[in-house]
């Protein structure tokens, strides 16, 4: 791999940028791979990278219907955190955060992981207690966490509404200093470039139309660019898992829902952390380019349309102004929606499936971006060894049958309420 560094920038700057190589090749699909990963998003590309890097498997194809990184890795609010309460989540997301901390250097691609911290405001004594419980669990699992009182919040974020007229006053906040944001596109591109350097074939504009079976076993995929044989097939197409799952004959507890995000015009830095309202759906961070990036709740009904409704935009705007009265003059530039795989407990499904040769990585709900490295790492392990990595042992498909769901919000079993 042609290394990226300040020296390569200087060298290329002086030679008219003529020597930058392709970040990844555009190969034609071979007839057979050891592993075929369906879905060239963050998770699929990360899986390919870790299969090569950790397990020495190099004969891999990542097959992408459109362009890589065009799904949810490219349309999220880029927040990375590991403030999870429940056993099963806590360790997994912390492992992911640790991978994030080294990711730019692992990939030789600057994913701009900015550990600026995340603050979630609490608006009642009960919410402070709930955040304290969460922070205790995090601390006991080796994760940094604090609960701030009102004055501490005020010092950190002076522009919140501390006035008498705030509908839901601020009592305190949950704070994780190692949380932050990353440049989302760079994550897909970085993994793609690093996987490609290991010999992984990234095949764009190639849609999987079916699965090739030998008896009960899946041994490859049918695509718009012909049949491709595979020792193992991994699905990493969150948002559209149901559609491919159906082609493979999987019955899934997944619904597709829209989560929207918005960005304002770029302004000089004002929001220095990731901040979230605790009395409504709204979380905000400011990108390095200067735009405030907002997220909120689901649109609330099944959808595959990558657009959202204005009602949700208004909900988030209301919450945003309620939390930060100074931002009402800032203007929204774009809003868009991503299609999420929602599960009944809002936890992912990442496991071998009942179908021999087929492995599933989906159901990420609204939490997929921050999970990208750990998901790739653990899914690679699962694909390489045939059995789940211990960190994802709780994310099996059978948990709905057994009752071992991991319901962080206790909102189950309705996906749209999660």
């Amino acid at each position: 791999m042609h290394g990226y560094s300040v020296f390569s920038i200087l060298r290329n700057g002086l030679s008219g940028q003529k020597h930058w190589p392709l970040a990844w090749r555009a190969p034609s699909p071979k007839s057979n791979y050891d592993v075929v990963i369906v879905g060239g998003g963050g998770h699929g590309l990360a899986t390919a990278f870790y299969l090569a890097e950790n397990h020495g498997i190099r004969n891999i194809a990542v097959i992408e219907k459109g362009y890589i990184g065009g799904g949810n890795v490219g349309r999220n609010t880029t927040i990375i955190r590991s403030n999870y309460l429940l056993d099963g989540h806590t360790q997994f997301f912390e492992f992911s955060l640790k991978l994030w901390e080294d990711l730019s250097r692992t990939l030789n691609y600057n994913v701009m992981f900015s550990q600026r911290g995340q603050l979630v405001a609490a608006h009642s004594p009960d919410q402070v207690d709930a955040f304290s419980h969460r922070a205790n669990v995090m601390r006991l699992n080796g994760i940094d966490a604090e609960v701030l009182d009102r004055d501490e919040v005020r010092r950190m974020v002076p522009y919140f509404d501390y006035s008498e007229t705030a509908r839901f006053p601020i009592y305190g906040a949950h704070w994780q200093s190692r949380a932050g944001t990353a440049r989302h596109d760079a994550v897909a591109w970085g993994y793609a470039r690093a996987a490609d350097a290991h010999g992984v074939d990234i095949i764009q504009n190639c849609e999987v139309t079916g699965f090739i079976r030998q008896g009960e076993r899946i041994v490859g995929v049918e695509t718009t660019r012909g049949q491709i044989g595979a020792g193992r097939v991994g699905l990493a197409v969150a948002g559209h898992t149901s559609m491919l799952g159906r082609k493979a004959g999987l019955e899934l507890p997944i619904e597709s829902h829209i989560l929207q995000a918005f960005v304002t015009e770029p302004i000089k830095p004002i929001v220095h952390q990731v901040v979230a309202y605790g009395a409504g759906h709204c979380y905000v961070s400011q990108s390095d380019k200067g735009g405030l990036v907002f997220g909120g709740g689901l649109d609330g009904y099944n959808s595959y349309a990558q657009r959202g409704n204005l009602g949700t935009v208004r909900d988030v705007a209301e919450a945003a102004v309620a939390l930060m009265p100074c931002i009402s003059r800032l203007r929204i530039l774009r809003h868009w929606g991503g299609v999420q795989d929602m599960t009944p407990d809002a936890a992912p499904i990442i496991c071998p499936t009942p179908i021999d040769g087929l492995y599933l990585n989906g159901g990420w709900c609204y939490g997929g971006f921050k999970a990208t490295p750990a998901s790739g790492w653990c899914f690679a392990h699962t694909l390489a060894t045939g059995s789940p990595h211990p960190l994802i042992a709780g994310y099996g498909l059978d948990r709905f049958r057994t009752g071992r769901t991991i319901d962080e919000f206790g909102a189950g079993p309705f996906a749209w309420l999660q």
């Binding site: 559209h240 149901s242 559609m243 159906r246 019955e251 899934l252 507890p253 997944i254 619904e255 597709s256 609330g300 009904y301 099944n302 959808s303 595959y304 349309a305 409704n309 204005l310 009602g311 009944p344 709905f400 049958r401 079993p413 309705f414 996906a415 749209w416």
Partner: protein, 88 residues
């Protein structure tokens, strides 16, 4: 804003309604003890990209539960009926 034409209140913004998911699944009888049927009713979802039958309740209006047939790709609403009448 989806415009859902409530059979008795007329067209309304969808935020006057409460969503309750797939209406094509069939709820087992209240005294049905079959685990598999309950499991499938509660958890297994077809999740189609296309026509989807789903429950909405007009909570800001007549409070009737409706069955709305909607395309999940383009949000075209194909039909709206009272759940009771769709059942009948």
């Amino acid at each position: 804003m989806l415009q859902i034409k409530c059979p008795c209140c007329g067209p309304r913004d969808h935020d006057e309604f409460l969503y309750a998911g797939d209406a094509s699944v069939s709820r087992p009888a209240h005294n049905d003890a079959d685990f598999e049927r309950w499991y499938r009713y509660v958890f297994v979802r077809e999740n189609p990209a296309g026509a989807h039958r789903e429950y909405w309740q007009h909570v800001m209006g007549c409070r009737q539960w409706l069955i709305v047939e909607r395309n999940t790709v383009n949000h075209t609403i194909l039909s709206v009926n009272f759940s009771r009448e769709a059942l009948a």
